[in-house]
């Protein structure tokens, strides 16, 4: 593993056992997070983003198996760690903001109790822990943080719960922060405020961030690198400018094209990608995107395209990688 990277995933394969057979949810996934950088993950709903994150932090569902691959964090393979070791890593070195804030929050405990509890490792008086919690809440824009420490999760709005989960994740000052759609429930001004917070964190603490979002505007503003996933594979990865200005994989192309932010004239008929995601229990013999791809050639339906670095630090899993003209 390259010492300049905080996290490296190589050749990761994950399967779910289901009634329909083995669902191959992740196939040959590669991901690199250079130290101190922010890496964005975008892709189709159900393409395996949360499954990838859960593999990193060791919280895969019971019916999941990692069939091959490695996940090195600071030089150690997380897939070889015990439950206990992983729990320590999650508490101190890797923090997680889950897609659904209620994964983090306990509905029957007040917010204050929960925020103080997670500081159990710190040998400081309780009053100081409380003060720190208030400070964190006000930094994510929760009004009246002191008196609202007494409130329970259901007494907050969706976006407030999301911000509380963010505050709790940042409290640990992790080396790696994994955020699964952390700003979906926030208004645009708050979203920008949170982006600034995360960038501050990156600069002041050298924290690296893996950031999943469907909001392409946020990805463009926040991230240094981007990976694009489709149907359980990483189909393209590169710098944020490569992905937005020089997309190479036909799926990336389509994804950007479908963003309503790019469509100046208002329309009630928004662009979509015709067709369906293939059945992960019965994979096609060739490229995973071939059925929906406007550029596919005969080879695409016969052979799985390898991931090719067709330009420096710019990979795509497409037989035509590098040939496809950009926008």
């Amino acid at each position: 593993m390259d010492a300049n990277n905080v996290l490296e995933i190589r050749g990761l394969n994950v399967e779910f056992a289901s009634e329909r057979g083995r669902l191959r949810a992740l196939r040959d996934v590669d991901l690199t997070i250079p130290r101190g950088s922010i890496v964005g993950v975008v892709g189709e709903s159900g393409c395996g983003k949360s499954t990838m994150i859960n593999s990193i932090i060791g919280l895969l569902a019971h019916n999941a198996t990692v069939s091959s691959g490695s996940i090195s964090f600071q030089g150690e393979d997380l897939l070889q760690k015990s439950e206990r070791e992983l729990r320590d890593i999650r508490g101190q070195h890797i923090s997680m903001i889950f897609q659904d804030p209620m994964t983090t929050l306990n509905p029957v405990l007040s917010i204050g109790t929960q925020m103080i509890d997670i500081q159990y490792r710190d040998q400081i008086p309780k009053a100081q822990k409380k003060a720190r919690s208030i400070e964190m809440l006000s930094r994510v824009g929760i009004p009246d943080p002191e008196s609202r420490l007494d409130n329970y999760p259901h007494q907050f709005s969706g976006g407030m719960r999301q911000r509380i989960a963010i505050a709790m994740a940042l409290q640990a000052e992790p080396e790696l922060l994994i955020a699964d759609e952390p700003t979906t429930a926030l208004d645009a001004t708050l979203e920008v405020q949170i982006i600034h917070r995360l960038k501050d964190l990156q600069h002041s603490m050298g924290c690296s961030i893996l950031f999943i979002s469907h909001h392409l505007g946020v990805i463009a503003e926040l991230c240094d690198f981007v990976i694009v996933m489709y149907g359980g594979e990483v189909v393209e990865r590169g710098t944020v400018r490569d992905i937005f200005h020089r997309p190479s994989h036909p799926y990336t192309f389509k994804l950007l094209e479908c963003d309503p932010a790019r469509i100046a004239e208002t329309t009630r008929s928004l662009p979509t990608i015709p067709g369906e995601i293939p059945n992960l229990a019965k994979l096609p013999p060739g490229c995973i995107f071939a059925d929906r791809c406007e550029r596919s050639i005969g080879l695409c339906r016969e052979k799985i395209p390898p991931s090719t670095e067709f330009a420096e630090h710019h990979w795509a899993r497409c037989h035509l990688a590098g040939e496809v003209s950009s926008t």
Partner: protein, 327 residues
């Protein structure tokens, strides 16, 4: 156009501290005014967008329309029928008229029910079990673009996006006249989001339904709504035709919000109206215009007096002493 839904001066308050706890904390008035005098109308076949600050009362307003919270004051008339003060049994029956999509997709689906029973449930609740439920379930799955196999799955076996589609299917099950959709596409990639919005648009054309959509996604609001309202701190501070709101907003908060939207271009020039200061206290609301502590244009008058409602042409109205673009 006929009015379908008419809200007049709706107020909703929540208690945040028990009486004893409030005394201990020195809080005189341990309530938050989540919705503080909202009036708006939605016409038949119209799409109205409600956007605004996280915590400003959007979900609470939506819940009061579908009868899940009771306003303390004001009136909500649906097709001529007053909903405030309606007896519970009657309310139960009324709910079939309004399709609801909730903010939290997985959490709003009971974890122990299969997707098949979740989709059949609305028919059972409203005594429509004589219909061929198997057929109805297949119809709904197809409508939202999910394979029939999904009927056997449980909510936790779905990706966030797939759960979202199940939510849409449930909301539309009984062919409602009004759909209240709280963040209907949060957590979806842009192409699936396009599919869901096109689907709602198509159903609206075919069936003439009205839609109240609450969302933080400004790109979505711009494309799909006819009119929109901006909420800040429990009030609608500006409302009007969507085109006008984006091109000529009057309220400074509207401009701050709309200009914050991150663009899908890493080299985009950023031109935002930044808000100053902290979020104000809900227990001790600011005097005069409640936006004044954060408004770049505030002066003494803003601090002293609450701005009246100013009505421009085109059903465009706002509350501000120093409106933009208006001389």
């Amino acid at each position: 156009m006929n009015t379908l839904l008419e809200l007049d001066d709706v107020h909703v308050r929540f208690r945040t501290h028990s009486p004893l706890n409030a005394i201990l904390k020195g809080i005189d008035d341990p309530f938050v005014d989540a919705v503080n005098g909202v009036s708006l109308e939605i016409g038949e076949g119209e799409t109205y967008g409600l956007v605004g600050e996280s915590g400003s009362g959007k979900t609470t307003l939506a819940r009061s329309i579908i009868g899940l919270v009771e306003p303390q004051r004001g009136s909500i008339r649906y097709d001529g029928t007053e909903l405030v003060g309606m007896p519970t049994a009657e309310m139960q029956k009324f709910r079939g008229n309004v399709g609801a999509m909730f903010q939290d997709p997985v959490g709003s689906l009971s974890p122990r029910m299969t997707i098949r029973s979740l989709l059949a449930e609305p028919f059972k609740i409203h005594d429509l079990s004589q219909r061929n439920l198997g057929q109805e379930v297949n119809r709904l799955l197809e409508m939202v673009g999910l394979n029939r196999d999904f009927a056997n799955r449980y909510p936790h076996q779905l990706s966030g996006g797939q759960a979202r589609r199940v939510g849409v299917a449930r909301a539309l099950a009984l062919d409602p006249k009004l759909v209240v959709a709280d963040e209907p596409t949060a957590g979806l990639d842009v192409s699936v989001q396009g599919e869901i919005l096109n689907l709602l648009g198509r159903l609206q054309q075919e069936l003439g339904i009205s839609i109240l959509v609450i969302t933080h996604n400004l790109n979505v609001v711009r494309h799909i709504t006819d009119r929109m309202g901006i909420m800040y701190f429990g009030r609608v501070v500006e409302q009007g035709p969507t085109e006008t709101m984006f091109h000529q907003p009057s309220h400074p908060y509207t401009l701050a919000l709309l200009s914050a939207n991150p663009e899908p271009d890493p080299d985009a020039e950023i031109d935002r109206l930044e808000l100053q200061g902290e979020v104000p206290s809900l227990f001790n609301r600011p005097s005069g215009c409640e936006f004044h502590p954060r408004c770049p244009f505030a002066d003494d008058r803003c601090q002293a007096s609450f701005p009246d409602l100013t009505e421009l042409s085109d059903a465009h109205s706002y509350r501000c002493h120093h409106p933009l673009h208006v001389t």
